[in-house]
């Protein structure tokens, strides 16, 4: 799955913290308009991998290209502007802001009105505020949170906070959205909702989706392509059924002995 038509090309990235190799020579491509997953046991380096793509960490070596454009060396806000948005494993909404305002912040990089426009209330200011508000309402509608528009983000139910984070990320008009454990802490019904939301993000908005997830049922039914990390290295990749039956994957999740036995549907107790 390499060559043209890839939105993201990661080549041989490596991240070393002191003596610890957190991510070791990982190569991965994400085809445009696909839904892919990165899985692996806890501590496999998945989040570190995401942090490198989004510029929070700089890779020790390797290249990351978004539609041919090199991202290594960019700050996180520049990466966002280039077209990658993300959500966080532990929800990081702006707690003193309303749902609408949270999404309006997501619009920051796309608005052009500056300090002087704000002070003088120029036409540019009014236009860009209107644009931000319109986007916010559109996104709230899209994820189904319109009724929470003027509510503080912290007051939303847990599952809705996750959706709001996705809406905020989508407001940056990304080419690629990275979801870090979007289903963590959700009950099966909320997870079903999330699954259809992620599909709609791809189908209706045309945004490529890459997720880190522990919920194997979600991963296996949603992803078109899966990459497995363990101890920072890529140990397998392929279509869901290929990964599911890969002995190295079973070993990484269940240990050598158990891997010889039957492979369960859920490797990890549901949190």
């Amino acid at each position: 799955m390499t060559g043209t038509g890839n939105i993201l090309d990661v080549r041989g990235v490596m991240k070393v913290f002191g003596g610890l190799v957190a991510v070791n020579d990982v190569t991965m491509s994400i085809p445009e308009r696909s839904i892919v997953s990165v899985i692996g046991p806890n501590g496999a380096g998945k989040t570190t991998f995401f942090n490198m793509i989004t510029g929070i960490y700089q890779p020790t070596s390797g290249t990351i290209r978004l539609a041919g454009r090199e991202l290594v060396g960019m700050r996180p806000d520049q990466v966002t502007e280039a077209g990658i948005a993300r959500t966080f494993q532990n929800i990081r909404l702006f707690s003193t802001m309303t749902s609408e305002e949270n999404i309006m912040v997501g619009r920051h990089a796309r608005l052009k009105s500056g300090f002087v426009d704000a002070v003088l209330r120029t036409r540019k200011f009014h236009d860009s505020e209107q644009e931000a508000r319109d986007t916010a309402r559109l996104m709230l509608d899209f994820v189904g949170l319109s009724q929470w528009r003027d509510e503080l983000a912290t007051n939303l139910p847990y599952g809705d906070q996750r959706k709001l984070e996705i809406a905020r990320a989508l407001a940056t008009t990304p080419k690629l959205i990275l979801l870090d454990e979007p289903a963590a802490g959700m009950n099966p019904r909320e997870t079903e909702d999330l699954k259809s939301l992620i599909r709609r993000v791809r189908d209706e908005l045309g945004v490529t989706v890459c997720l880190i997830e522990h919920d194997m049922r979600l991963v296996m039914t949603l992803s078109e392509y899966i990459t497995v990390l363990d101890y920072g290295s890529k140990i397998a990749e392929g279509l869901p059924h290929q990964v599911r039956n890969d002995p190295r994957v079973m070993e990484a999740y269940l240990g050598r002995g158990a891997a010889a036995g039957e492979y369960g549907k859920e490797e990890r107790p549901h949190v």
């Binding site: 929070i56 700050r75 806000d77 702006f94 997501g106 920051h108 505020e129």
Partner: protein
Amino acid sequence: MSLPSMFDTNRDAKPDRTILLIAFFLITSAVLLASHNRPFLESMGAAGQFLKNPITEAFFVSLFLANVLFAYLWKAAPWARALVGVGSLLIVLPSAGRQDTSLLDLSIQIMIFAALALGLNIVVGLAGLLDLGYVAFFAVGAYTWGIFASPRFAEILRYYGENPGATNAGTLAIGLFLTVVTAASMVYINRLTNRQPPTATSTWSFRLAAFGLVAGLTLASRAAVVLMSGQADSLASGIAPGFFWLFLALSVLAAAIVGVLIGLPVLRLKGDYLAIITLGLGEVIRVLANNLDLYTAGSQGITPIRSANVPWFNSLAGALGFSEEQHYLLFLYVLVLIVLGMILLVNVRLDRSRIGRAWIAIRDDEVAAQAMGVPLVQTKLIAFATGASFAGIMGMIFAAKQTFISPESFNLFQSIGVLSMVILGGMGSFPGVILGAAVVTLLNLRILPGLGEATAHLGLPQQVNPGQLQRLIFGIILVTMMLLRPEGLLPNRRRTRELHHEDNQEDDSVDGNAGALGNTSAEVYSAGVAPAKHEDNAGGRR
């Protein structure tokens, strides 16, 4: 009336108080005018003595200033609120100040501190960056005008006239050329690195250009001073007062530039680290002022500093019955009022804009803000520079009002004082920090000294004499206020909703409540200083 209900900002739930507001305005105005009319007081005898008592006087001044607060808070007809607000500040207060200079002086002082509090509020309250060296920018504004509008300027010119070195007209040309070229290349490199990641070459050429800019500016200004040194005698008491207006803009600019210069190296830090380093840099500015004898006259201070001279305003003031020596005070009063109004307007407009949202986003969660496309350093620098520029312009007006400045006017306690105004009033709330400034200034300048004066004749032993215990009483008041109302006197809408949102959520999930509690305690006790939730595995560059 209990404290919470008195400061309740929920206007709709309250009855219309138009009549009460007007009545309060008329009574307090009458008392203020009476208590500041000396002949009237003398004719009153014992009652006059009572009104002249420093404690009663401070009390009546505070009551009168509460007019403006109530006009803002109470539900009343718009005309009444406008009348009370405008009438108090533009008519009654200046009229009362006609007889008593200290009243105008106090009002100017309150407004200067209100502007400082508004400036610091942007940095601490909105962007969540604890700055303990804020008064440095106040000093920059004060010295910008102080050096040029006093005999200091002639001293500097004379010194360079006697020690011209190798400087001549050619140096000026070279200096200006270097300045322009390096500034242009810095702009160019900056544009380039905004589009693509910086390389080692671009970083180093930017630093080289910055060095060249400093060199160019130094050369040019030195040459200009040497060339002007012949004028020293005609500038014996400083540059012409007409430059006052130009310097209002220059002091804003100078403070903003110093804000950026201080901000650039330190804004990569956060929380406690930032607080300590700004504290240090604030002291550096004070120590510089103490040691650059030639420019600042060191600890002796600069005096006399000129003020603007507006003939038509003076004749107007004369026509209104102000004595000659009061003209400049009335002028500064009106000027400070206008400047404070403009600062407030800028604040409100920035708050409800893309930049204001970015500041609050950074305060709430830096990592998430950056991931949403907010450039951290740039946005923080704008906060620093905006806050600094308010301090700069007020510093200049302060210098003109005092006619004397020395490094001691700008010590650490001033920074702490302004911070206490922001926290006492309500971080992030514009009316709150103005109220905080008024309360703290009144306490410091009137109520506590008044307490000392009023009890001086009682012959109390020194250990329990309120005059000796001013700082202690001030501290007790602050601690009590923070315990009773941790969110401040007039809290910010966001903060109130966050602190009290449990009330309107009966059937809450466990998750929701846990999150709310965690946030509440973090917001209240860390007071925006170091949001604890920044540390976790999503990381963030330190």
